[in-house]
């Protein structure tokens, strides 16, 4: 029976026969052609960012790490570093994860925190590239330090795998404060709060 089913599946999956005609081609575009020139690609890829260049070295020496740390010391001064944990949750959860937890649209692809970290215990599709952030508030990290750790992780852990969210403008300073609250607020599900 399995063999029969497989046969049916095989037949059903056959791609359409290619046109037998080779002289003329149908005029259609499969997808829009991307128009970036080699020159533009090169400028984008070999980005003029000293810290990034240093971290591209195959051997990350003490000197490199020290220099990258020095280069990563610019932070915006804010009046407060604790934002709104609910907005932080919207940034941290992808739309798929958000829908799974709350059954309604929400979330965003801006933070992608769960790609590398586990945190909210209800989320089981989480990575282990970085440490688990479950009950992060118990670590006693001050809001300003946590803000800096998300805004530019290379200030603490040079050349680490974590993107420099604030430095690159992937997140605004305000958005980073929301993530700080998501990790520190006792009401946040990360710290066992019941949303």
């Amino acid at each position: 029976v399995r063999l029969l089913l497989l046969l049916i599946l095989l037949l059903a999956c056959q791609p359409k026969k290619p046109k037998e005609e080779y002289a003329t081609f149908p005029q259609f575009l499969k997808r829009p052609q991307e128009t970036v020139t080699p020159e533009l690609f090169r400028r984008a890829f070999f980005l003029d960012d000293e810290a990034q260049k240093l971290c591209s070295s195959e051997a990350l020496t003490e000197d490199i790490l020290k220099r990258v740390k020095e280069l990563s010391s610019n932070f915006p001064k804010l009046d407060g570093y604790l934002g709104d944990w609910r907005k932080g949750e919207q940034l941290a959860l992808t739309p798929e994860l958000y829908k799974r937890l709350y059954g309604k649209p929400g979330g965003s692809k801006k933070g992608l925190c769960y790609a590398c970290h586990c945190a909210d215990p209800r989320v089981d599709e989480c990575g282990d590239v970085g440490p688990s952030l479950y009950r992060y508030a118990e670590k006693g990290v001050k809001p300003e330090e946590l803000f800096k750790r998300i805004y530019n992780p290379w200030a603490f852990s040079p050349c680490s795998a974590m993107p420099r969210f604030g430095h690159h403008g992937l997140l605004t300073a305000e958005e980073v404060t929301h993530l700080v609250a998501y990790l520190l607020s006792p009401e946040s599900p990360v710290n066992g709060g019941k949303p």
């Binding site: 999956c13 791609p15 080779y22 971290c55 591209s56 599709e125 992937l170």
Partner: protein, 255 residues
């Protein structure tokens, strides 16, 4: 009814069965490549087979040595660029005909040519100075951190390989000898991907800056490098050289 059958089949079969289905679909693309090889002609009225023999005998083993320096092109080419250059220079396909369907012709041909080397060992040499230069460039590209994510190929596929990223395990293509299985059929996308296609797609993950604005912007970021750009071919050269000695086995199947 058919859908139900499909669903049942999908549920009752293992990864192995999926692979078989994938291989079957991939072979159809390779067959199309063979048809192009035999019949496709342009201004010169020549076909690929006119120069390389009706069964491609003279191309056996060629793919296992690519990318490599080609005197007639004056540059290092991967299979994709080699095939495209043949279509242009020797078959003399008109630009108009190539413009919109370039990849649709090149990819099946690359698949067919690659399959002629099945069972051969990957043997990419660094003899010509350009091959050496591109190997070093490829190595640089592999380790270069870039874009708004600060990613590099090596970061995820060497330093963090084996770690979990969402629900996926980050693969280690060099120890896994993955480049020796390209062109590979993507079950999810239902198309054959050459190594160049696959590597080119990876660059989207970097979230590259908009070089005109000098900063990152979701709207105007550079998504992928242009086809056949030197950096892409260099990366292929670096990877294929890294898996020298592996048995070529195409088409591979990826998710």
């Amino acid at each position: 009814m058919l859908l139900l059958l499909l669903l049942l089949t999908a549920l009752s079969f293992s990864q192995e069965a999926l692979t078989r289905v994938g291989l079957q679909s991939a072979r159809v693309v390779l067959e199309r490549g063979k048809e192009y090889y035999l019949k496709l002609t342009g201004g010169s009225k020549l076909t690929c087979a006119d120069c390389h023999g009706p069964d491609g005998e003279s191309l056996k083993g060629a793919y296992a040595r690519m990318p490599r320096f080609y005197t007639d092109l004056g540059r290092v080419a991967d299979a994709d660029l080699r095939v495209l250059s043949c279509l242009r220079q020797y078959l003399r396909l008109e630009d108009e005909r190539l413009k919109s369907r370039e990849r649709e012709l090149v990819v099946p041909l690359v698949g067919f040519v690659a399959s002629l080397s099945n069972g051969e060992l990957v043997f990419v040499e660094l003899r010509h100075p350009e091959e050496k230069r591109l190997y070093e460039l490829g190595r640089t590209v592999w380790y270069r951190r870039s874009g708004a994510t600060d990613f590099s190929c090596a970061l995820c596929h060497e330093r963090l390989a084996g770690k979990q990223f969402f629900a996926e395990v980050l693969p280690a293509p060099i120890p896994d000898r993955a480049p020796a299985r390209y062109p590979a059929y993507s079950v999810k996308r239902d198309e054959l991907l050459t190594l160049e296609d696959k590597l080119r797609d990876c660059f989207e993950r970097y979230l590259l800056y908009d070089p005109k604005k000098g900063r990152f912007s979701f709207e105007s970021r550079v998504r992928k490098p242009p086809y056949y750009v030197e950096e892409l071919i260099a990366l292929e050269l670096f990877l294929m050289h890294s898996v020298n000695g592996s048995t070529l086995s195409v088409p591979g199947v990826i998710k």
